[in-house]
């Protein structure tokens, strides 16, 4: 087997990006987008992990390597990106701006695949930022009011996350003295640094209350983009947290409890808000929040009970991979539903979608059932309190997911046909369903023995169905009509009418233009004089400061020979605070 150089993992999509710059080569480049993640997939599936790579001349010294966890994440991410590229090619076949979409997709792909193999802070942050910012283009792609609004919220959260991440990584790098990502998990890193990094990742992961961007972005983006947003990019947050948190090494019950509280909030809020949505993609997005919260719960347990972490880690990877495949299949199914007429074709499509949905609910025999099992067994190792709380949490997750799935299917079943959606989207969807069913067998996930199915595993679905039937009956009897709010949950209350104004809205220019006119007229003279005054004031103030304020003791240099001692007070501004 040929050893695949690791730089090809982010390098292949990047190279394709360069091809897009040449107008003549665009058709070829477009066709190649689905195979751009191929090197990543090969690297992840190789029986022997590719050798680490050190590029000292790049950034702050780039180190690429593939860890065991990274290989799993890389495998399902690469598969998902390939599917998304293929799906986008077929969905946007008539879109005049599809090249822009492809470029953004490739950039985000480069970032996502690259961060999974990056081992040093500089390149990790670079890839992470590349992924986050390029996704802005994916969210904005449709160009409508909803997209503009979603884009605005998305970029605000993304930048917030970037800044927190950057600050945290910089502090961590200083504390550890190295630029290696894995060193952040060593003891001795200031908690503030870890907290900042965690905030950056939790925003990406969509943990409540940092989730506000997520449903908006998922419902605004085209379906293939939603598939990778939910399937691959949210997982990047999880991957980051698993890499940098000192899991399994440090007991941090407070942090664990905080994380668990956020997770439980997510588990509760996701179905509540998701059920009232009118857009199936928004409903699916809320279900992602619920699932990611479950993973955050696993992290919380790992922080509080280090002895349980090895088992939890295995379960989390399994859960992530399963969710990635299932959710991607569901998102890719949405445009297929739009393209098929109401009747048996649609029933067929919905039937196919039911397979990943069942996996997501965690029915026995599906990948979801396996993952749920795994996490249950893993947590049993930890302290009793955690295990005690986990069973209801898992049940709530399953119940919530089941309700959300039923809601999504109801909406999909009634969705009108959209003539503009090409029929070609069905093929990627079929492959995605196949992956959703059998995906875990294809990629190197940690194995877990399946437990025999018991009837109680079906309880969440049954309860959800009963609840749905009851609600339907109540609605019919009371003769009320459910008016779904705009996607965005709470945020929708703040901005009912999205305006097509610029991002980070600023006052309209016309009025200010008029207001400027009189100011402009008296500008030159006043400017010159206040400028003169500023010069005078600056010179006088600095001179005064230089003369009046005494030098700190020991810094004055009476012998005045060498410059070295005179430069010593340089450190004092820092010491001053």
């Amino acid at each position: 087997m040929i050893e695949l150089p690791l730089f090809l993992v982010p390098g292949a999509p990047l190279a394709l990006l360069i091809l897009f710059a040449l107008p003549q080569a665009r058709a070829t480049a477009r066709a190649l987008v689905p195979v751009a993640p191929l090197p990543a997939l090969l690297a992840a599936l190789a029986p022997v992990a590719p050798p680490p790579l050190a590029l000292d001349w790049l950034l702050l010294g780039t180190r690429l390597a593939l860890t065991e966890t990274g290989a799993t994440f890389l495998a399902f991410s690469a598969l998902l990106w390939a599917l998304a590229g293929w799906g986008a090619e077929r969905l946007l076949v008539r879109d005049p701006a599809r090249d822009r979409f492809s470029v953004c997709l490739l950039l985000a792909m480069t970032g996502n695949l690259g961060l999974l193999v990056a081992q040093d802070l500089g390149s990790f942050y670079a890839f992470f930022a590349m992924m986050s910012l390029a996704s802005w283009g994916l969210v904005l792609h449709g160009g409508g009011a909803a997209q503009v609004f979603a884009g605005r919220i998305y970029i605000a959260f993304a930048i917030l996350g970037e800044v927190a991440l950057f600050a945290g990584l910089a502090m961590g790098a200083f504390a550890t003295g190295t630029y290696m990502l894995a060193d952040l998990a060593q003891p001795g890193v200031p908690p503030l640094a870890l907290a900042l990094v965690a905030v950056g990742f939790l925003i990406k992961l969509g943990a409540v209350p940092l989730h506000l961007w997520l449903p908006l972005a998922h419902s605004a983006a085209p379906a293939p983009a939603s598939a990778v947003l939910s399937g691959a990019m949210l997982k990047a947050g999880l991957f980051g947290l698993m890499t940098v948190l000192p899991l399994g090494a440090v007991v941090a019950p407070e942090a664990g409890a905080l994380l668990a509280a956020m997770a439980v909030a997510g588990l509760l809020i996701a179905p509540l808000l998701g059920l009232v949505q009118g857009d199936p993609k928004a409903v699916l997005a809320y279900s992602s929040i619920g699932q990611m919260s479950l993973m955050a719960l696993g992290l919380g347990v790992g922080l509080a009970a280090p002895e349980a972490w090895p088992a939890i880690a295995v379960a989390l990877v399994l859960l992530a991979a399963h969710h990635a495949f299932a959710k991607a299949a569901l998102f890719l199914g949405v445009p297929v539903v739009w393209a098929t007429g109401i009747g048996w074709p649609r029933a067929l499509v919905l039937g196919a979608m039911a397979l990943p949905a069942a996996a997501l609910i965690g029915l026995p025999g599906t990948s979801g059932g396996l993952a749920k099992d795994a996490i249950k067994t893993a947590v049993a190792v930890g302290p009793g309190a955690w295990a005690f709380w986990l069973a209801p949490a898992l049940f709530a997750a399953s119940l919530g997911t089941a309700c959300l799935m039923l809601r999504a299917f109801a909406l999909l079943a009634a969705a009108p046909i959209r003539a503009e959606v090409p029929r070609g989207v069905a093929l990627p969807f079929a492959v995605a369903v196949g992956l959703g069913v059998a995906g875990l067998a294809l990629i190197p996930v940690p194995t877990h023995a399946a437990k025999a199915a018991v009837p109680s595993d079906l309880l969440p679905l049954a309860m959800a169905a009963a609840l749905a039937a009851l609600t339907l009956a109540a609605v019919r009897l009371a003769r009320v009509r459910l008016v779904p709010p705009a996607p965005g949950g709470l945020l929708a209350a703040f901005e009912q009418v999205p305006v097509p104004a610029p991002v980070l809205a600023l006052p309209a220019p016309e009025r200010r233009g008029r207001a400027l006119a009189p100011r402009r007229r008296r500008r030159p003279d006043g400017l010159a004089q206040s400028g003169g005054l500023a010069i005078l004031g600056m010179a006088a103030a600095l001179a005064l400061a230089a003369v009046m304020l005494p030098e700190p003791a020991g810094s004055a240099n009476p012998t005045s020979g060498a410059p070295a001692p005179a430069a010593a007070p340089a450190q004092s501004p820092a010491a001053g605070d």
Partner: protein
């Protein structure tokens, strides 16, 4: 020998202080005048004030040979300043001409 009440007052110090005062005057007018020509004049006065500091510092008191290097600095400064003044005046005239005609 001198009946003046400040015995250590030397010509050097007097012109030093005059230079300081000229700097103050020039900067004050630069900050309070809107007339282009006055501001150009103020900059010229400022440079004379600086030259006074240089030349006074070069002087080593009566009888001693003064330091030639600051003299060279002031000579250079005078020529540089006349060049910049010419450029400033050309600009000011042009602004005045175009200003009278139109405001584009």
């Amino acid at each position: 020998m001198t009946p003046f009440p400040f015995p250590d007052l030397t010509p050097q110090l007097i012109y030093h202080l005059a230079g300081a005062a000229l700097v103050g005057i020039a900067l004050y007018r630069g900050a309070t005048s809107s007339d282009l020509l006055t501001r150009i004049l103020a900059l010229n006065v400022l440079s004379v004030g600086i030259a006074a500091v240089f030349v006074a510092a070069a002087n080593r008191g009566a009888g001693a040979v003064p330091d030639p290097v600051p003299h060279a600095f002031v000579l250079t400064g005078i020529v540089v300043l006349v060049a910049v003044t010419a450029a400033l005046l050309a600009l000011a005239e042009r602004i005045d001409l175009t200003g009278a005609k139109s405001d584009d």
